[in-house]
């Protein structure tokens, strides 16, 4: 197709929108709402995932050994645990280290109180491995495995917290996916109606085009362009709102819930938008194209 043909078609696409202002506006508004919600849910899920991940990194399984287990036996157990696919990393805490950490934590301001214990380490049999998992969901199967190892006395785990976190994240994911799918369908339906009205309004012109010898593509393209422009507008508007809104919301949450600052580790806007922008644009253009294509196929049998 020639350049003049393409520019004519694009111009007609814009004209269709201008002719059909209110329907176009309604379609843009629906897609905007759809992608806005998508953006919000995505930001929540992405941040929640991030928070869970940070929390998970802190969740460890602690493995204690029977009294009198040799260092060699503990090293062997450590190697076996480290070789497991669920394990991200392990850390050996010797009895001395365990006591140092304990002192640091509980006798920080009054070191003299701890002095009496120096000669006889109260945590003498507390040499242990801290095992960090790749995914908290694999925790229970790993714990079962470790319990079966020689010399293992006790395995501490924080299963409840970990599984609650990931279940909650999954729930948000499902609910938002369901809402977004419904909104997508509504958007496709509305665009398709807008295009149908446009086709109805320009019925005569389309008839003339066909008689003059316009190719199917030339007759159809302005309507597809119209749909895509609506989709594009419907994705750019919410992205702009979300971009500015995101920072505001995060700084508000952080100032409001100051005590939780250590726990609430939010993603920077840039990182969220790195995914959100292309996905939203593709979604908007996709909805626009799909909605108009369905209608053009149905009403424009050229």
């Amino acid at each position: 197709m020639r350049i003049s043909g393409v520019s004519y078609i694009v111009k007609q696409g814009f004209k269709n929108i201008a002719h059909n202002k209110w329907f176009s506006l309604a379609s843009v508004a629906t897609i905007t709402a759809c992608i806005f919600l998508f953006g919000i849910f995505y930001s929540i899920v992405a941040n929640f995932g991030h928070i869970v991940k940070s929390a998970e990194e802190g969740v460890a399984v602690t493995v204690f050994f029977e009294e009198g287990t040799t260092q060699e036996a503990m090293d062997n157990a450590g190697k076996l645990i480290e070789a497991r696919p669920e394990v991200a990393r392990i850390e050996f805490i010797s009895a001395e280290q365990a006591w140092e950490d304990f002192k640091e934590q509980y006798f920080k301001d009054s070191a003299n109180l701890a002095e009496g214990f120096e000669a006889d380490n109260p945590l003498a049999h507390s040499a242990n491995y801290e095992v960090y998992l790749k995914d908290v969901e694999d925790q229970s199967q790993l714990v079962e495995y470790i319990k079966g190892l020689d010399g293992v006395r006790k395995v501490n785990q924080s299963e409840a917290a970990a599984t609650t976190l990931s279940t909650f994240n999954l729930l948000i994911g499902y609910v938002s996916a369901a809402i977004i799918v419904v909104l997508l369908l509504v958007s496709v339906f509305l665009i398709s109606n807008t295009i149908a009205v446009g086709i109805e309004v320009r019925k005569e012109e389309i008839g003339i085009m066909k008689l003059i010898g316009a190719k199917d593509a030339v007759v159809r393209a302005p309507f597809l362009i119209e749909g895509m422009l609506i989709g594009l507008a419907g994705s750019v508007i919410p992205l702009v709102i979300l971009y500015f809104g995101y920072r505001e919301v995060i700084s508000y949450v952080l100032s409001r819930f100051r005590p939780l600052q250590d726990f609430l580790k939010f993603l920077p806007a840039e990182q969220v938008f790195l995914t959100l922008v292309p996905v939203s644009l593709a979604l908007g253009l996709g909805i626009g194209l799909l909605g108009s294509y369905i209608t053009v196929r149905k009403h424009l049998k050229v």
Partner: protein
């Protein structure tokens, strides 16, 4: 130019609109097709435009059987035809210039040629001065001239006019037919469907009369007298 061999067209309900029509129209001819409403004249035009396919028979245009055209070949075929209607069918939101240019834009003619060709054809129909006007600012005759310019801008070999004077007063009707006659002298084959007796009788051209879908007479220049 136009060859119809035993062409019939019947709609799903009722009588056939065109029955066993055999017809030959040569290149450069000017032909009237006359008949009352419902006689099958408009069906004939639709068959030539390939808006309809015949139930039976073969239609050849320029020697090509248009029944064998694939769907995607139809646009190219239609570019060889120009068509004018009783109700002009202009785009009300576009100027005279844009209405004519429209026929070239939608057939992907380069802008350079559009700029050359549109003024040329507008001056041919006598509307060079009014290129900026909108259809509602023009008289019926002027609107039909714009429609003729649009039909001619892509230089068709065949011009089909379906009741082109149906909405016009007698004086303007003669002007429009005169314009079509002028176009014919430049070499374009012209087929005019009409039931305007005065024009048919005055022009003394070949006249094909249709009644109830059947060609009842086909007379050469000046032989036919159109009566009620």
């Amino acid at each position: 130019m136009i060859d119809l061999e035993n062409v019939s067209k019947s709609y799903s309900k009722g009588q056939p609109a065109v029955k066993h029509v055999n017809l030959h129209i040569g290149r450069g001819e000017f032909v009237f097709v006359v008949g009352n409403s419902g006689s099958g004249k408009s069906t004939l035009i639709k068959l030539l435009l390939k808006e309809l396919d015949p139930t039976e028979g073969i239609i050849r245009i320029n020697g090509k059987d248009i029944g064998t055209l694939k769907h995607r070949q139809i646009p190219k075929y239609r570019r060889e035809l120009g068509v004018v209607f009783q109700d002009f069918r202009l785009l009300k939101d576009r100027s005279v210039y844009e209405n004519v240019a429209f026929a070239q834009r939608v057939t992907e003619v380069p802008n350079r040629i559009i700029k050359e060709r549109v003024p040329e054809v507008l001056s041919m129909v006598g509307l060079a001065e009014k290129y900026k006007a909108y259809p509602h600012e023009l008289s019926g005759g002027e609107q039909q001239r714009v429609a003729i310019a649009r039909a001619l801008v892509n230089r068709p070999a065949l011009l089909l006019a379906d009741e082109p004077t149906g909405n016009l007063d007698p004086k303007t009707s003669f002007e429009i037919i005169g314009l079509l006659d002028k176009i014919n002298t430049y070499g374009t084959t012209v087929l005019v469907v009409t039931h305007n007796k005065d024009i048919v009788n005055a022009m003394k051209k070949r006249v094909i009369a249709i009644r109830q879908g059947i060609i009842v007479s086909d007379m050469q220049e000046g032989e036919y007298l159109y009566e009620d």
